[in-house]
Symmetry: D2
Subunit: 382 residues, 4 copies
């Protein structure tokens, strides 16, 4: 794919994760930093080179990327001097930002909204002569959405979308719908509904497009998918797995609202149960602690039983910078989805379960197995 | 193998690990407890049933097993009421305990000592009509031993052993030598030299015997072999991995002596380097904290670098009961070595790397890969 | 007071805390164990000797103390062999247990209920020729109670109590009312309402009785009252103080009900704010984790700001056995209230703030100041 | 003292602590930052105003303060934009830096060296018309020094100092000697020998000068002096107190050398024993972990025994920026020693034990008592 140029269209392009990804892409392309945290560097696969990626996106906020990058540098997410060094790349991406879909201000049907979003992406692709554009949702988490019959059937959905009086899809799913309509592979890095609806899966198949999701696995859950299989392999009986997450930044504010936290807590719980093969006491909390800023601290307490009922425990404290963990994975997904699209892959890519808390198209939560599957799949793509 | 009866001969049969293993074997055979922590229960393999195992062993101490079991119950290693319930089994095993080799009191050559040890084992096998006897070293850790030319050549070794004036082998290796001479598979659950000498490997091949080792992976190292591959798979750069181990019990006392700790620290360091593919700052301490009794607490602090040099960390605190973690693995090794012997396997069993910090016959330290290899190998044994 | 004999009447006399206290009192009196954890041993004061205490109490459950003690020994709260050694003392106390007040089954007015409870205590005092009886509430936590006008005025309260149709007081306050009516000093070791009502304070003064409370300070809060003053004294700015409590046992079950947890969480929060002199982000959780049994594990994460806004943190993990921490303090309170009563002290004893999360009669939450005040007060009692 | 101008002369003026102190003094004086971490702000005392302090010092390195400040900002010790804002103050201080005493390059007697150092300080005082100059040692830690008879007697010491062939004092003590000879109060913020010699105490008394030390209490030890008294006050028996310190930066490199670590470990151990009133198992490690940079992470594991021998534990993880914790205390000491000098105090100021791991002139290690004593003393200074 070395000669193609690939577009990366980010939903929530002015957020922390996107800003970190754009700054980092420029740094890596320009040889200012090594691609630490970029998994695709470890794969034996034919992927778009870093410098072949062109970035744009949708957002509802107007803070320029350069300003946001400065703030991230102050919080230790970006190196002290990087924002100045990649200013051109940040400004170039800023020039490709288009207003996102805002259900509160939008007038007209959701079909019209989606049409406009799709047109923005198509225009981006054409102006830059891109072989393809990968769309990735890194906007903030939405509350869980009540199921509706239209979500299960594409025709019913499209009929409903044209009705100006109705709002059948959450914003994340409008973005996914628009991406598919524009002929773009899509990935959901958030726990929001996004593309995870039968009707959108039907659309992806109709349009012959691959997609992946959801909820990037960047911290506590990453550890759980690594450690839970250890207990299983050693026949040790986990009796309880308690967790507390302290989050600052926008994410913390969003998730302190139980309605928003709901979807994230659910996907975490699903994973743990799948890993241990049965239910365990697993209280889990997400607390908003603004002073932590970009930092996320998670404490897990695992109580387990060994031979003859011996009681033992494991405690973990993870202190991560969420944007620093997410950004390289977002760039990885852009390269992988582009390659999958070029290779003609269609539908949910279960082989990308490695990246997600709540993998679409796969029931595999064990990290080691996900890793092996990713490598196998990537090698066969060529 | 359902009809065979198998012997389990423990070197250090009156220590905590052995006492826990013997009590647990009786409890599991008698349906008093589930085989929690016994990995062989997860394998699709033809192994000796629990109730076909008969236990005996060598030791230099004289405290009866029943008394030791009582002490372990007081420390929460054994269930409150178990010692009374398995008193018969403990007494039966006690009746099969023979004096171990003590270099300080032994008169005569090491060959004579080994001859007597081998005779004890042979006698045990014959009196009980056992198909085979698996010998496992669970005695306390020895200091590292200086290399000698005799260690590399069987003939030279056997020539030296008959010289009453010389002491060419550490006790653990005398025990291994005796086991092989008695035609028994051998496993080294400690970091001591034991069977890990070229000359003894030659003997194992000459006698067509399988063996495994060394240094049971029961705590901090288990976590490291699970977590280090996670950092690698995510392309995160581990910058330092500091560890502190607080041990009570005999083990703590033995290991506070730097000479003894040496071998254990070396095997831990080797593993971490192999896992991360390069050296990292990795200070490691083992402290004797008698009041912790049978408990072992390990704290690890991992400092790692993510995208664009972002600095993050992971902390772990493991609180385990070492004997409770080791005992079921010792029973697993007895079953696996018996099956390997029956199947005609010879030499170091790399497929058992799963069990050890410093695997003999394998360079694989990654836990997930070790697990898969164990399952594959066990399934093919049948 | 050496010649007096003192009664200790426990509300919830068959719970973990009471059973541990009774077993321990017998062990200490009999020289089977040192009075570790008994603060009164450090005081220069004239207090009732251990062997002058006689125990009885009210409870709604019927499990004999000896049986309960056995269970506590299995969980490591009591020494392995202690229950057998103090069987006589446990049985003697069992013989002094009377049915507690159960609002669900009680027929008649609360005044009648209180009258019966008071009669039980008076009878106990007379049969044993006790100089006085100290009543301490160690029953499980009640949900917070809505304020009522009768709670603020003794006459109004007593008028309401005689009305069979009304339930004006929670069980803990009925017990406190009965204790005062029986002429007994009272202490509230739980966060329940108990004696913390103006009307009952009026009664205590009318009856010339001292009392203390509430909510025994045994774990996370103890640490907070020690550490928060450190940050203040060093002019370090605490920005957030997050806490998670994992509880097994009955307490965990009671407190997982948010209604019950409410009162405990409130008293914890009040304390932290008082200590830091201002509000901080302080998410706090109490989770029921049954497998932890008698153990209580608390994790605190303190984020603080130093010179020039430098961001730093402190993490704590406390692993305690709640009954082991509470029991000696209950015995201390018995001795101290007896001495205070003998010395003619009346009303809320602020000098006992040392013992409580939510001290009655004092605004002092700083542990070092509470300690000094306790020592001063005790020395002056003589 | 409002009208006086006071000099602050730092030994090791270009190190992290000094650079942070100088940057912060400028920021606080200029109203760019609040005096967070400055204890003197909490005292009711008459102290030199921030803007009356003038800084200079000795150092053997030549990196300009402005450059060092930039590096500290990159490590999050100083705010992102501060170095630029306080550039003038940093340059002004740089102009007052004189070459420190380097035993390796010095030619001539130690008396001559001290004479030159004293002259630098006197010249500084006169050029700026300062009422007094406080000298504080913040240079890196020295190895413990063997005792010599000259250390105990001032006349013998001065006789030896003039002998060009002899080196009787470590650099830190030469600096202390010079300070006293220049008529300056002195404080030792490091564990080095410095002024802690009988002969120098004699000199301080002869010159009627106050001094304080030693080894600033900024992290793990601070916690220990707060927590150990809690266990004592609650009659809980600490059985072991294990600690591991991970240090980056120059300090880590210095202390990884056991010879240097020796003095620090000794002073920590002395403190713990004094606090608990008896010896406990207390393994303590200091590891050099360069990637941690300015950060210092300490893990403590306290195992303690409660009622009836119940075993419980407390774990602490402290993550601090050492320079951010030390710098405000250095500024506090400058103000306090200046006030003490103005008030005519002479000799070791035990009332400043609050600041030190190994307090000179005091046996009090309990933090709460140290705090009260500091406040009392400061209030009486006026």
């Amino acid at each position: 794919m070395a000669r193609d140029r690939t577009g990366l269209w980010l939903i929530g392009v002015r957020g922390s994760v996107a800003t970190t990804a754009i700054s980092g892409l420029a740094a890596v392309s320009g040889g200012l930093a090594p691609p630490t945290g970029c998994v695709t560097e470890l794969l034996d696969a034919d992927l778009p080179p870093w410098d072949s990626l062109v970035v744009g996106g949708h957002d509802v906020v107007s803070t320029p990327l350069a300003k946001r990058a400065e703030a991230l540098a102050e919080h230790g997410v970006l190196p002290y001097h990087l924002p100045a060094r990649v200013a051109d790349a940040l400004n170039a991406a800023d020039a490709e930002v288009r207003p996102g879909y805002d259900p509160l201000t939008h007038r007209g049907s959701q079909a019209e909204a989606a049409g406009r979003l799709a047109a923005d992406i198509t225009d981006f692709r054409e102006r830059h002569g891109l072989a393809r554009v990968v769309v990735i949702n890194v906007a903030s988490t939405e509350p869980p959405v009540p199921a509706r019959p239209e979500h299960d059937d594409l025709d019913a959905l499209e009929a409903a979308l044209v009705d100006p009086a109705r709002t059948v899809l959450p914003s994340s799913s409008v973005a996914a719908y628009a991406a598919l309509r524009a002929g773009c592979p899509f990935a959901d890095f958030t726990p929001s509904t996004g593309i995870a609806l039968p009707a959108l899966d039907q659309l992806a198949h109709r349009e012959r497009l691959p997609y992946a999701g959801r909820d990037g696995k960047t911290g506590e859950t990453l550890l759980r998918t690594v450690l839970a299989p250890m207990f299983t392999a050693r026949a040790l009986r986990v009796r309880s797995w308690a967790g507390t997450n302290l989050l600052g930044g926008g994410d913390g504010a969003t998730l302190e609202d139980p309605a928003h936290a709901g979807s994230k807590l659910e996907s975490k719980a699903r994973g743990l149960e799948a890993l241990l093969g049965r239910e365990v006491t697993a209280p889990l909390h997400i607390d908003n602690v603004p002073d932590l800023g970009e930092q996320k601290t998670a404490w897990d307490h695992v109580s387990f039983e060994g031979f003859l009922g011996a009681r033992m425990s494991l405690q973990l404290t993870w202190t991560g910078l969420d944007s620093s963990l997410a950004a390289p994975l977002v760039l990885d997904l852009a390269r992988l989805l582009a390659a999958a699209h070029a290779a003609g892959e269609v539908g949910a890519l279960g082989a990308l379960a490695f990246f997600f808390k709540d993998p679409l198209g796969s029931d595999e939560h064990r990290f080691a197995e996900q890793t092996r599957e990713l490598h196998r799949w990537a090698a066969e793509l060529r």
